[in-house]
Symmetry: C2
Subunit: 562 residues, 2 copies
Amino acid sequence: MTTAVANGGAKTPATTRVMSVYSEVQTSRLNHTLPLPSVLRAPFALADGPPSSAAGNPDEIAKLFPHLFGQPSAKLVPTSDSSAAPSGPLKIGVVLSGGQAPGGHNVISGIFDYLQQKAKGSTVYGFKGGPAGIMKCKYVELTPEFVYPFRNQGGFDMICSGRDKIETPQQFKEAEETVVKLDLDGLVVIGGDDSNTNACLLAEYCRSKNMKTHVIGCPKTIDGDLKCKEVPASFGFDTACKIYSEMIGNVMVDARSTGKYYHFVRLMGRAASHITLECALQTHPNIAIIGEEVATMKQTLKNVTDYITDIICKRAELGYNYGVILIPEGLIDFIPEVQTLIAELNEILAHDVVDEAGVWKQKLQPECQKLFDFLPQAIQEQLLLERDPHGNVQVAKIETEKMLISMVETELEKRKAEGKYAGHFKGQSHFFGYEGRCGMPTNFDASYCYALGYAAGALLHCGKTGLISSVGNLCAPVEEWTVGGTALTSMMDVERRHGKFKPVIKKAMVELDGAPFKKFASMRDEWAIKNRYISPGPIQFTGPGANDVNHTLLLELGAVQA
Amino acid sequence: MTTAVANGGAKTPATTRVMSVYSEVQTSRLNHTLPLPSVLRAPFALADGPPSSAAGNPDEIAKLFPHLFGQPSAKLVPTSDSSAAPSGPLKIGVVLSGGQAPGGHNVISGIFDYLQQKAKGSTVYGFKGGPAGIMKCKYVELTPEFVYPFRNQGGFDMICSGRDKIETPQQFKEAEETVVKLDLDGLVVIGGDDSNTNACLLAEYCRSKNMKTHVIGCPKTIDGDLKCKEVPASFGFDTACKIYSEMIGNVMVDARSTGKYYHFVRLMGRAASHITLECALQTHPNIAIIGEEVATMKQTLKNVTDYITDIICKRAELGYNYGVILIPEGLIDFIPEVQTLIAELNEILAHDVVDEAGVWKQKLQPECQKLFDFLPQAIQEQLLLERDPHGNVQVAKIETEKMLISMVETELEKRKAEGKYAGHFKGQSHFFGYEGRCGMPTNFDASYCYALGYAAGALLHCGKTGLISSVGNLCAPVEEWTVGGTALTSMMDVERRHGKFKPVIKKAMVELDGAPFKKFASMRDEWAIKNRYISPGPIQFTGPGANDVNHTLLLELGAVQA
């Protein structure tokens, strides 16, 4: 039981982690001691809360999860009754699901350490390559030697991840075969909203079949859109935002030093604009576009262009022909008219010929035609040429930052001709994405993930299922963090798809009446005109700033005045 | 004399640095104590070396610099003879010239502190916006309050920079008027190869006119191509490479975790490939293209594409459909055939009409036409459409990383059709540039720059002119660094331009028989196939790795075995 065993595949991803090629910082992080919330360091008991409901449509959720609906959330509390401690070894599987987020390795380390320390004799299997690893029974048995090189390191390469889902009856059957074969007492699913919905369906399935396997989720996504009152943050958000903010801060200093560039920075995060908002709070850009506001105000692309152009003109009058503008990756998904255009284009591209002369454009509704003509030529071509395997326009491939630069240029030329603008404009485009997903976790994410994993181990040890590991009071020192599990069904609502109700954990969008947005909104006019740039600098692991909590969390938890 | 005075402009750039909006890391860096080489901390004397010559064509250099040619370099040595110490206050001007590089503010701090401590009563003027500030007599008088907020901070925004040159007789006259008006004893020019050539011309001019103003240069450029035996490094290179390497390391972890992307990373640095080489040594990518090798081997774009494609195919056979590839920004400048094509295109675009049907292409030489047809369509369009104000093709705007992705894709499809490749390929493009130019300087750059500035003050105080501040023994602890000044004429050669000899400091290119390239060349085959990725992580200011010297310097100074 001491060596890693890989079933069904010769290449264990982890063999690529060779310790001798670690950098000094990587090595020092290996030996970084992870603090634990005090409730996890002493004997604890589990205190159940009141019966839970759902985030919406509780009747439908109750039908979809007959065995789990209504179960209470649970909280770990200190106890002096040592007989309350769970005992006995467990067999646990763990899986990483979806895109990378800094800290995933520490969740696994937390689970592993809990079981090593509190449930001696336990076995932990890591499913390889995401949920497909469960269905295909591809796994590696975790050992201290195997886990150690990944402590506090970025990436998901210990067992890798995947985007498959366990959806069809056949797939549930395959998953069942694996957990039965491995005799699993529990499974921890580390993932985003979809993956945790999937985890809950699996928990329900196992319960309905009277299987002993329990399922616990963990909140992962750099996008920061999987959260609720009990789960104040998804892991990875803190690190990713700090990496992007380092780069934004550098670009700001560059803008101010050179005095001649407008840097348009697109930031990863498709569905929600949390990353853009957090980076704005960390760095004070001249402009940050928040998708949720654009959608709520039903803004058009022209509105957004005019908003940016107006500020550029005002700044030119003050002698500033430079600036920094943050744009969320998902911006155009938030603009209703763009959605309409894309839907019409998909229809036309599927059935008609796009002629060079542009006769095809007459098939567009007048409003859509106007918008299409408003778009820069390069974007028009991208919309017509780049299609996914289903023939649809690939919205994700549109380089929004370049599109906006081009549209702002056109608008500025117009104003220059009208004598309303006398500055000079040079746009520089940036996309900060992949470099943030796999960075070494900050001290916050390292500790948070370790606690999430440790808590997941404790919840399984106490016989819980259908909960998401929940660590709270995150603005306090780690010792004071609260630990528990939240009923996944309590976070759910339903969506109607293909005539059926589907359970979903709703993405937590930026709330326009939430403290982070309100703080941003109260300061942005000043940032637009005056230069209040902040350069957070590189993430530090020791010394000043090393244990700072991000602004979103501080503001949402009310730890600072909005 | 205690407040900043701006002559000729209401907007002092520095007013935008408001200390209350500094991040914690920025603030902590303000208070970071800068160590000094021990020779600068005790009484010193200046020891002149033997008469110097030139890097090439000494006869021509002697004619161009009749008053300066042959002057010795100088070295600071400890002395117990306190009467040897220079005395009396000085009036000194300082200017930042050319692109940003981390540490510029510390050079100024070093000059300022030297004069405050060793030449009490001195005055330092900062010329605003580069050499134009000298010609237009735009300056700010530096005070402790003014300088303090910029200590150890990135950027050039204390006095900003510019790319103007003092070239024509009229411009020399304007500069003369300024230095006479301000009664300057000395001027420090902080810049790259061109700016230091300019500094030497100015020193010669002042000497020829019997003016009291002395001129000292300081070696600045992130590109790392201003160096020689006495000047082992240009400042900013260390920080920029470490910032890029952090990002490359993250992208490597991402590549390994996802297992499905080839990341093509273009790195700033037009003329030389030092940055790409250093980042390769820090991170161990699967492929790094070194422009100097491509030029020496007279490789074609097809050769480079094939080299990359071959490795991708080999990796696919091993089950790796991912990787990281580094590309120097200036790559296409190194490829002879591309230079020929661009020259022909410039000629054709200037005189002929580019018709849609492509008849114009017949004007290209057959080899050029073949290369043009080999290029991806997007690049063809870029070559034809994007021109600079002189109507020339804008080589700098070509996104080499996207071009290579497209060419590799085409080649892989061909091989797939031939049954020689069965993998899958997805390219992701990155450009790391601006985010590295203005980062907070590493401990190395912070100390190095401070010593360079402090030494420049000492050289001026000792009455020297036409030298470049030189700090050596850089792999040893700061206390043991050597300090002196190198005759700028000794670094010069001539180039024939418009029928005249022009003095130039030759750019130091990557040497194929130098230790850094040899180390890279000895390891790259292993890196290509095995994954030896290293993730340097974010720059640390305290703790492990905080005082590491970069590989190029270590290898060039022979501090490690090649």
